[in-house]
Amino acid sequence: MAKIYMDNGATTKPDSEVVSAMLPYYNEHFGNASSLHSFGQEAADALDRARQQVANLVGAQPEEIIFTSGGTESDNLALKGIAYLKKNAGKHIITSVIEHPAILNTCKNLQDDGFRVTYVPVDDQGLIDPAAVEDAITDDTILVSIMHGNNEIGTIQPIKEISKIAHDRGVLMHTDAVQSVGKIAVNVNDLDVDMLSISAHKIHGPKGVGALYVRKGTRLESLVKGGGHEFGKRAGTENIPGIVGLAKAAELAGQRLDDDASHVTKLRDAAITKILGSISESYLNGHPTQRLPNNVHLRFSYVEGESLLMLLDMKGVAVSTGSACSSKSLEPSHVLTALGIPPEQIHGSLRITFGRENTMDEVDYVVESLVGIVEKLRAMSPIAPKH
């Protein structure tokens, strides 16, 4: 049977070059980067090189890269790190209703700690109106955190514009760029952000490692207390193999960005056109053009997403859904809800996220499979119109 992975928004296959780069740091160069002997210095050198490589991918300086355990920790560090440090200057944070749970639940946590959070809405294509951010800023606002590319629907936000608004009012700007880094050109100076979250496993790197870009001069309170690692912003002996893996993935992502982006854009556009053209009452979720190049997010009336996902899996195709039935919480996707999509249609949503290894033949196979599966489920559905 075919084995086709089209869930690259969930995680990506580590590149073989990434794995090869990591192995020596398990097998031979196991030193602690804080040790002064030669074992330690090998690790410290690797750490320095890695910091430079990750900085290169986003146009940063190496000393502006803080290694973390992943995107979630980076988001936590950005929000709580600023909130705890600036709590006497202000207690108001602005974010959006479609953020990743790493941001939303951190915000809830901060609300419990006495901070005030404004969640700006999105339009029916998932775009934030920068004016809504501007209107929400008060003298008490210390941070704006808006994601770059949405993990579900792929909508890309006008971060540069929002950063300008924040900075004009003296407010710091963070963006969760976990889904956009490595997919589109991301430059911290162009976006004019003070902090930016990165995850390794979304760019063909290993799981359990990520980074937070923190602009020079931006102070934040470390959440993990211990030694003076990562410029005092994140304690703990560095995960050298993971960090080397992230760095290699970043280097490859930078080299391949143009090729990868044009490749997945072709797959994305072909998939959208073919599916919408061959399945009645199917719709695209998110923005038609302001979207991540690898993201296809659709909904099909009268069918439920978990069933779609499982039948596709039986045909060897791995995708994901926003249906409540597939989530641990049994809550329908907060992102699709924010777009104003009715609940029964949220249940019928499907996300396909392409990676560099997918092919046009695979797109054709998925389209063909999907046509049959939707037909089968609709024939079974009591809410589908009878033919």
Binding site: Y302, V303, E304, E306, S307, M310, L311, M314, S323, A324, C325, S326, K328, L330, P332, P342, P343, E344, H347, A379, M380, S381, P382, I383, A384
Partner: protein, 124 residues
């Protein structure tokens, strides 16, 4: 996550469809919640001679629908009313805990169809 039995009934559900001249129809669930089930029954000599379903929902919802039709077919009305949600889940070698409540509607659907049948009998 799902047992082999669930996967079997999900991928090849039994007795899918409507019964045009059904003696009773049970409608349970709600598409807003993600699961909706219609159970159709045909009654002959006090027994369920035919049972079919139409379901909008997840793998568990479809599998339980398929299973209830198999469990109920040929049973007397009284026997069919004794089939519980747990019976359906057990016949499928269990359901994931999160699915026990929301997607395990098939027994309710069958009972609703029988109620509908009884009501129609009473008004005839």
């Amino acid at each position: 996550m799902y047992s082999e039995k669930v996967m079997e009934h999900f991928s090849n559900p039994k007795n899918v469809g409507e019964i045009e001249d059904a003696d009773g129809v049970g409608e349970v669930g709600n598409p807003t919640c993600g699961d909706m089930m219609n159970i159709y029954i045909k009654v002959k000599d006090g027994k369920l001679s035919d049972v079919k379903f139409k379901t909008f929902g997840c793998g568990a919802a479809i599998a339980t629908s398929s299973m209830i039709t198999e469990l109920a077919k040929g049973k007397t009305i009284e026997e069919a009313l004794e089939i519980t949600r747990d019976d359906v889940a057990q016949s499928l070698d269990g359901l994931p805990p999160v699915k026990m409540h929301c997607s395990n509607l098939a027994a309710d659907g069958l009972h609703a169809a029988i109620e509908d049948y009884k009501k129609k009998q009473g008004t005839d």
